[in-house]
Structure formats: structure tokens, C-alpha cells
């Protein structure tokens, strides 16, 4: 078991290493020299040269990479090119906001999908089962930016009940203010998760119900709730995996949703920094998103080992 765990952790680190290389290379491949976003185009050659030396742009690429990696590991991503704040501060604020959005989206999506999914696995002909089917198809096939616009159209423009912009009313930083701003983007971002999870929960529970040990449980004279406990316990590892992956996606920042709702999260940061050629911020944001995604995957793998006795050796 220890060996399995160590292997997973090792693999996660290997993946992360690959990610840092890709993130670094990505920026090298972007059009324009990084230097051009730092110095004004009409700067003197001497100033230009000085800055190139200061930032190490004249060194070989692999040296630049290791310098950058070393700094990144210490949390030093430099200053934002556009407003000179620390990149780390910008990114961690954004991360915090994305976490709020992701939590909002996943709590709604997970709870609803589990209730609907389990119920419709037991009652496939019920109305709720139809609702689940509609969620399943809708959540997966309607792009989240369309849904964002539809939600804004209904709840902000027509009904005027929910705000469509930002995280707080200006000057009002209360929890209820946050909550009201959170509802629409959380729905938009969570719809896909809701659709995928509803389908997964339903199929996994329905499949488990057909396993032969469930007949044995009936033959033992257990009550329906007691049997259901066994069924859910058996579906749990699968659901945990899907839920974790979905949370990972949501933490990656729903760029479209965050942009439409001006939600100052990591997705919006990536979008803005690309447009302002703010290289350090783009790099840091993408890197952190990747680290989070890999970490969540690692945690799911470890939790799965805890949750499924057959994986423990």
C-alpha cells in the first residue's frame, strides 16, 4: 500500500515537472519578445541592453528555465507588468475568489446530482428521473457562456433580482452581498458538473444495484434502507473520483463565466493578462492552476485507496 501511494506521489511530481516545462515553453512560443512588454519601444539601446541583462534574457533557455523555476518554487513570480503589484498577491487573491465560485458551484451541483441521481436509479420512471435526464443532456450540451447570458437575461435584465457583475455591491462587503453575486455565476459554472454528475450517480448506483451481492443482501433479509447503504458505499469510490475531477475543473477557473460576470478569479486573470501581455502573471496563473489540478488528482487517488479496500494491498 505504501508503495502504491509513493508511486502516485512520484507520478504527480513528474507531471508537475512536465507542466512547468510546458508553461515556460508556452510563453517562449508566444508572439513578441518578452522584453518588448517591459521596455517601451522607443527606449535607448543601452537601457534595453541593461534590462535584458537584469532579467537574464541573454542567457541560454535552460538557464532561464531553472532561474524561473527556482524563483517560482520560492513563490517569487516577480511583479506584474501592467500594475507592478506582486504577481503572487494578484494570483492568490484571484485563486481565493475562484475557490469561492468553485465551492458555490460544486456544492449545488454535488448535492442536487446525488439526490436526483440516486432517486432516479431507484425510480427510473419517476418525474425526477426525467428532470435528471434533462439536466444530464442540458448541462453537457449547453456551453456555459450561453447559459451565463441566458441567466443574466432572465434574472438581471428582465427580473432585476440578481446582479450580473462582480463579487460585491460597491461598499457592501457583507456575506449576503457576496451570496447574491455568487448565485448566477455558480449556476452557470456548475451546470456542466451537475449534468455529468447526475448521469454518473444514476448509472453507477443503478449498476451497483444489479450486482449479485445485492441479491444476497436481500436473501439475508436486510431492509431496503440497509441495502441502500451497501449500494451507496459501493458507488462511493467512483463518485468520489468524478466529483474530485469536476472540482478540479472548476478550480481551473471557468474563464468564460468569470469573464462574463467580471468575477475576479483565476480565469479572468489569465484572460486579462494574456491581452495585456503580462507574461509573469499569465505564467504564474497557469502554473498554479496546473499545480492545483495535479494536487486534486493526487488527493483523489489517495482518498480512493482509503475508500476502496480492494485497492489497499
Amino acid at each position: 500500500m505504501i508503495r502504491v501511494i509513493l508511486k502516485r506521489i512520484g507520478l504527480a511530481f513528474l507531471t508537475l515537472f512536465g507542466v512547468t516545462v510546458i508553461v515556460f515553453a508556452l510563453l517562449q512560443m508566444m508572439p513578441g519578445e518578452p522584453i518588448d512588454s517591459i521596455v517601451p519601444l522607443d527606449a535607448s539601446d543601452a537601457l534595453r541592453q541593461a534590462i535584458i541583462e537584469k532579467y537574464g534574457f541573454d542567457k541560454p533557455l535552460y538557464v532561464q528555465y531553472f532561474c524561473w523555476l527556482g524563483n517560482a518554487l520560492r513563490g517569487n513570480f516577480g511583479n506584474s507588468v501592467s500594475d507592478n503589484r506582486l504577481v503572487l498577491t494578484i494570483v492568490s487573491e484571484a485563486l481565493h475568489n475562484t475557490l469561492i465560485l468553485a465551492l458555490g458551484a460544486s456544492i449545488v451541483a454535488f448535492l442536487l446530482s446525488i439526490v436526483i441521481g440516486v432517486y432516479s436509479a431507484y425510480r427510473p420512471k419517476s418525474i425526477l428521473s426525467w428532470v435528471g435526464t434533462i439536466f444530464g443532456i442540458g448541462g453537457i450540451s449547453i456551453p456555459n457562456y450561453c447559459l451565463s447570458l441566458i441567466l443574466i437575461g432572465i434574472f438581471s435584465v428582465t427580473l432585476h433580482v440578481l446582479p450580473s457583475n462582480g463579487m460585491y455591491f460597491s461598499g457592501d462587503y457583507s456575506f449576503s452581498s457576496l451570496l447574491r453575486h455568487l448565485i448566477l455565476p455558480a449556476l452557470a459554472a456548475g451546470a456542466m458538473t451537475l449534468g455529468i454528475m447526475t448521469r454518473m450517480v444514476r448509472s453507477s448506483v443503478a449498476e451497483t444495484r444489479n450486482r449479485s451481492f445485492v441479491t444476497t443482501l436481500r436473501a439475508k433479509g436486510l431492509s431496503e434502507p440497509a441495502i441502500m447503504r451497501h449500494v451507496l458505499r459501493n458507488s462511493f469510490p467512483t463518485l468520489l473520483t468524478v466529483a474530485g475531477l469536476q472540482f478540479g475543473y472548476l478550480m481551473g477557473g471557468s474563464t468564460m463565466v468569470e469573464t462574463i460576470f467580471s468575477w475576479p478569479g483565476i480565469g479572468l486573470i489569465i484572460y486579462q493578462s494574456i491581452f495585456t501581455s503580462d507574461f509573469p502573471t499569465t505564467q504564474a496563473a497557469i502554473l498554479i492552476v496546473a499545480v492545483i489540478f495535479v494536487s486534486i488528482n493526487l488527493i483523489i487517488d489517495l482518498l480512493r485507496i482509503v475508500a476502496d479496500p480492494r485497492l489497499r494491498k
Binding site: F213, G221, R310
Partner: protein, 324 residues
């Protein structure tokens, strides 16, 4: 009070196959007395497991059960789900044919036995149930039972798992044990120990056993009566000695010749041809297309059980005509 534990009269089961109801068990009338053992023999697909599951009413919901089934004087088919639940695992318990998938992979085997005890004996504490389960594990021959109870099913060997399943089926001292190939996965010594345990429980508590096996040796050893099943019907039914030594049905003779005897496992002399499936059933006697003696009437009408002696019946047109 009569000593009949279970009795079925014309019990039939039909499965839904593509919107059609296809019979898998046809008008089976058998009965079993207290403390006795009935062995059902027959080729694969003849409906043995289906018959036993019908008694416990644990077939899929779309299966149609017809006829009558009495357990200790009560009509099983009239009971509601709650009443059935109280019987299952308590007064009637079943050892599943496929022990590999009979246990929940997520729960420790000990807990699964304890859970069964506690489902039926509300006053028994967890600790007491654990104690009882441990004693059962000893009885079915599981070494170091205390540790074994704490393991998960996948950590046990097939034989060990089968023994755990047997322990679970015995945990509430059932009146009727439905044992579907209970010892197939076990080696000869353990098999002997289990069969002796069954015998002991029969003598001590008067437990009745309905057992399916493919081993004639086992059948000869434990059975008071034997029923031969084929294509969902009972082909022959009678005392062990008469069925095994003086079979009156060509199918029984072919089956006895084909089934492995204890000791020479694996040397199967198969009966020519394949047993029919429920959707390809001949309209007359189910054995008619493989039977060397089949005549016109065999192909057109289903034979019914007719007495050979007071304790022996057979379902064969040839026999019926011999009588005339």
C-alpha cells in the same frame, strides 16, 4: 401440526425475455419434511437455482411466479415484502451458488455476518453477535476466525469465502437451508466437514436442507430424497436409493452416467447434445430431442409425474405406456 417444512404445488416461474414470458420452472411439486434433505440434480440451465430463489422470492421483479408454495403451513406467495424479509436469512436462508460475488466487497466478512444476525435478532448486542459469528467461523472450519472476520472478501481464498458464506447462512439457525452448490468450491476434507456440520444441525435443530449439487457422491451421502430437474420440469422424484439405483427415466440414467462421482472429479462423460435453453424448449418432453427412446408422443406432449412405487415417481411417456 404436520412436519412438512416446505411444499410447492405446480410452482412455475417465467422470465420476461423481450416482452415474452418464457417459463424457466414448470409446475414443480416437491415437498420436504422437517430434518430431512432433498437434493436437486440436473444439468446447467435446468431451473434449479430459479426454483430455490422463487421460494425466497428474490427473483428479478419482472419474473412471474405461479402456483403455490407453503412454508410451515403458510403460503409464501401471499406474504408481503416485509413478512418475506423477516423470513429471509432467519427461518429460510440460502447459500448462493456463486460465493465469489455473494459478499459485499466493501465490508469486512465478519461485519456482514454480524449484520445478518442483528437484522433478525434486535436484542442481540454487537459484541454478542460478534461472539456468535466467531463460533460459526470455527464450526465451518475457518482457521484463526478472529483475524479472518476482520478481512475483506477479496483477501480470502475462494474456499475460505465459501465457508464465510456458509457461516452467514447458518447464523440465525434456519429451519430451511437452501443450498445452491454449497461445497463446489471446497476441497474434499472441508467438504466433508461442512456436510457433517449440516448433518449435526439437522439432528440437533431439525434443520431441513434443499441442496443443489453436481456431485452424485455428495447426493448419495446426504440426500433422503432426490429430484431430477430438466428443462424446468421434475423428471424423476423419489427416495435416494430408488432414484440412483433404479432410475425409471432415460434422462436420469444418462445424467447419472454423466455426472462426476466423488473421487474421479472432472471425468465427465457428457450427455450427447446440449440442454435446451428456456427460449429453445421442445414443445413436448424437454429431453425428447436428445433421448434415444423418444417417440411421437414425446415430441408433442409434456409427461407428468406418475408413481413407480409409493416413494418414487417419474415423468416419462415410455413409463406411462408400459403401465397401460
Amino acid at each position: 401440526m404436520s412436519d412438512t417444512i416446505v411444499k410447492t404445488t405446480d410452482l412455475s416461474v417465467a422470465f420476461k425475455v423481450k416482452k415474452d414470458l418464457v417459463p424457466a420452472v414448470r409446475q414443480v411439486s416437491l415437498s420436504l419434511e422437517k430434518g430431512r434433505t432433498l437434493v436437486i440434480l440436473g444439468e446447467s440451465g435446468s431451473g434449479k437455482s430459479t426454483y430455490m430463489k422463487a421460494l425466497l422470492r428474490i427473483l428479478p421483479h419482472d419474473a412471474a411466479i405461479d402456483g403455490a408454495a407453503e412454508f410451515m403451513g403458510e403460503d409464501l406467495l401471499l406474504k408481503n415484502e416485509k413478512e418475506m424479509r423477516e423470513l429471509r436469512g432467519d427461518r429460510i436462508s440460502m447459500i448462493y451458488q456463486d460465493s465469489l460475488s455473494a459478499l459485499d466487497p466493501m465490508y469486512k466478512v465478519g461485519d456482514q455476518v454480524i449484520e445478518t444476525i442483528r437484522a433478525h435478532r434486535k436484542s442481540v448486542s454487537r459484541a454478542e453477535a460478534r461472539e456468535q459469528a466467531e463460533q460459526l467461523f470455527v464450526k465451518v472450519g475457518i482457521p484463526s476466525p478472529r483475524e479472518r472476520m476482520r478481512t475483506y472478501p477479496h483477501e480470502l481464498s475462494g474456499g475460505m469465502r465459501q465457508r464465510a458464506v456458509i457461516a452467514m447462512s447458518l447464523c440465525c439457525s434456519p429451519y430451511l437451508l437452501l443450498a445452491d452448490e454449497p461445497t463446489t468450491a471446497l476441497d474434499v476434507t472441508i467438504q466433508k466437514q461442512i456436510l457433517n456440520l449440516f448433518l449435526e444441525l439437522q439432528e440437533k435443530d431439525g434443520m431441513s436442507i434443499m441442496m443443489v449439487t453436481h456431485d452424485i457422491g455428495v447426493a448419495a451421502q446426504v440426500a433422503d430424497e432426490i429430484a431430477i430437474m430438466y428443462g424446468g420440469i421434475i423428471m424423476e422424484y423419489g427416495s435416494t436409493r430408488e432414484v440412483l439405483e433404479e432410475p425409471a427415466n432415460p434422462y436420469t440414467r444418462a445424467l447419472i452416467a454423466a455426472l462426476p462421482k466423488s473421487g474421479d472429479r472432472g471425468r465427465l462423460v457428457a450427455i450427447d447434445g446440449q440442454p435446451p435453453t428456456i427460449v429453445s424448449m421442445p414443445s413436448g418432453c424437454p429431453f425428447s430431442d436428445r433421448c434415444a427412446y423418444a417417440t411421437q408422443i414425446c415430441k408433442s406432449s409434456i409427461p407428468h409425474l406418475t408413481p413407480v412405487t409409493q416413494t418414487h415417481q417419474t415423468a416419462c411417456h415410455l413409463y406411462e405406456r408400459k403401465e397401460e
